[in-house]
Symmetry: C2
DNA sequence: CTGAAAGCGCTTACAG
DNA sequence: CTGAAAGCGCTTACAG
């Protein structure tokens, strides 16, 4: 039935439908200036020929790829999933496609995912990872950095959750619960630095001594585990721990268990990110929600506005995080 | 410095380097038939003009996109990550790019991710999700289905882990440990059906009664939790549980804990997938490794061979899984 | 080793 | 509402 022959082109469709190829193009792009009869004929021909327009030709001829590129750091670091959802929602109206790439996906053909996107002529770029100095940033298309990062990209928009505020909220929550010996396990990236700040501020404001254990360079369960071990050793009086994120919190839970401490009876634990993990029956982790979906919506808006007005000044948008109460916190066992 | 003007094209580079544009094309594609002096000049011009070749033009003119598309079901379902790594490794030599899309990413512009890939003129397609009947499968490019699925795609290659064998290995391991009351929590997808088979076989072979709890339609922690609750209620004599995958195993752990059962002392638990989750300090989950990276390597090979010889018959490749022993299993508390 | 020419499959004005 | 023409930025033979 289907021949392995040459692919159908717009010419074939035009011929089969008995119209010119411009007309086919109009139908494809949903123009209202096409008679019903011809539209039907074209659609039938498309179906019959199993025709699919060539994205390459459309991009080349139209001068626009209609896609925005998103660079993430790692598929296992799930915070980007909700961001993507928000982006998709926000970009829907405009009909922009989304393409995702992590650092390693095409490392065999291109050192830098940005290069690939730039060659693809994306309309805009979202950098949802720590920007590197080797990246050559485009200045001809909108670029928005998503999330709090250590490095700035001059001229780019920025959309991030207020990580300092989130950590402050979490710490104040523990303090309100009656805790005063609260430790913090922190990592080495952009959000970590801000969360550390928020934690420290809240502790000092309450007149308590902050205990920060910084584990470099990652923020995995393993790092959380090691950090918590150190905390429990150096500060056995700790009755609560704020972890740098949910993965690290999972490590904290493991360290507590291995030390014979019950959560939340002996020690309260708070995570950060409201990841799928935190909502499981096994963890029931109280955490901070960064509202990444809303973040994605904001990023979409920034892209759209910059596309409409390329000369507008760079924007910085900050979202307010909120605390999600679940089952990992309690009043301290012994109120001193 | 950088003008927001028109993008540099191959013409601009040729002119700046004082060569013809064919020569620039040769340099870009790494041809050896270019003198050192001219190559240097071209490279300098590319750098100076911040030139990036247009992927669209290259695809259109060259008649090949040099990319293979991978359809996954969901970014939160992490089994594809290792698959991607293997694919990347295997495709590296050939210089093929990888593009990933899940079902929802571009749902606002295209109902089906396949359509997008087909418009992009990918060289091959990897379907790492349950094929749907609405998908129009191409017959002109290699298609390989990765993982065990319920639906077949006629003419496509298949690469999967032997899920029945994996479940049998896990069950036999528990039996060897002395367990005879072993339950299985299963889901509703392709791998689930096979794992169920393997479990049942092993139980019957040992002369024990299989207890399967099937929770539809998903295979999440929540489903594992509910399934285990039912198992513990209906079969309180159970001393071991084989979960359909690691996420479900996590739910089993939670259900055991909520029932006051210790793992592994009171009940042994085995997962499936060897996901990042299973290796955490908190879970220390004994699990089955499907060797997804090797699977990716196999898929790459299938693609390459089909590209070289389009008429070769469809292949089915099955990999042997292996058991990963960690800390969630023990001999049964009371040997009956 | 290098250059001129044709063509890939579309979109976009521009006439009718 | 519809068609003929030019052109997008490359690659690929094909001559030299």
């Amino acid at each position: 039935m289907a021949q392995r022959s040459r692919r159908a082109t717009i010419y074939d469709v035009a011929q089969a439908a008995g119209v010119s190829k411009s007309l086919v193009s109009l139908v494809l792009r949903g123009s209202p200036n096409v008679s019903q009869a011809r539209r039907t004929a074209v659609l039938a021909a498309i179906e019959a020929l199993d025709y699919r327009p060539s994205q390459a030709a459309a991009t080349l001829a139209g001068g626009t790829s209609q896609t925005v590129g998103v660079v993430i750091d790692d598929y296992t670091n799930l915070w980007f999933v909700e961001l993507l959802r928000g982006l998709q929602e926000g970009l829907g109206e405009a009909g922009l496609r989304i393409a995702v790439s992590d650092r390693t996906l095409n490392a065999h053909v291109q050192a830098d995912p940005l290069e690939g996107f730039l060659s693809t002529r994306v309309e805009a770029l979202v950098v949802a990872t720590e920007p590197t100095e080797t990246m050559r940033y485009p200045n001809q298309i909108p670029l928005v950095v998503a999330g709090n990062r250590q490095r700035q990209v001059p001229g780019s928009d920025l959309a991030a959750s207020d990580d300092a505020l989130g950590a402050r909220l979490a710490t104040e929550y523990l303090i309100a619960l009656g805790h005063r010996h609260i430790g913090h396990i922190s990592g080495g990236d952009g959000p970590s630095a801000l969360r550390r700040q928020g934690y420290t501020q809240a502790m000092l404001a309450a007149g308590y001594e902050p205990h920060v254990i910084t584990v470099m360079p990652q923020t995995t369960e393993e790092h959380g585990y090691r950090g918590a071990q150190r905390l429990f050793e150096e500060h056995p009086e700790s009755t609560a721990v704020l972890a740098g994120n949910d993965s690290m919190a999972m490590g904290v839970l493991a360290a507590a268990r291995d030390r014979g401490l019950l959560v939340p009876q002996d020690v309260s634990v708070i995570g950060y990110d409201n990841s799928p993990l935190s909502g499981t029956h096994l963890l029931r982790l109280t955490t901070v929600d960064s509202r990444n979906r809303d973040l994605g919506l904001q990023v979409a808006e920034q892209i759209l506005s910059k596309l409409a007005e390329p000369d507008r000044a760079a924007q910085v948008i900050q979202l307010e995080p909120r605390l999600i109460e679940r089952g990992s916190c309690h009043t301290p066992r012994t109120t001193l």
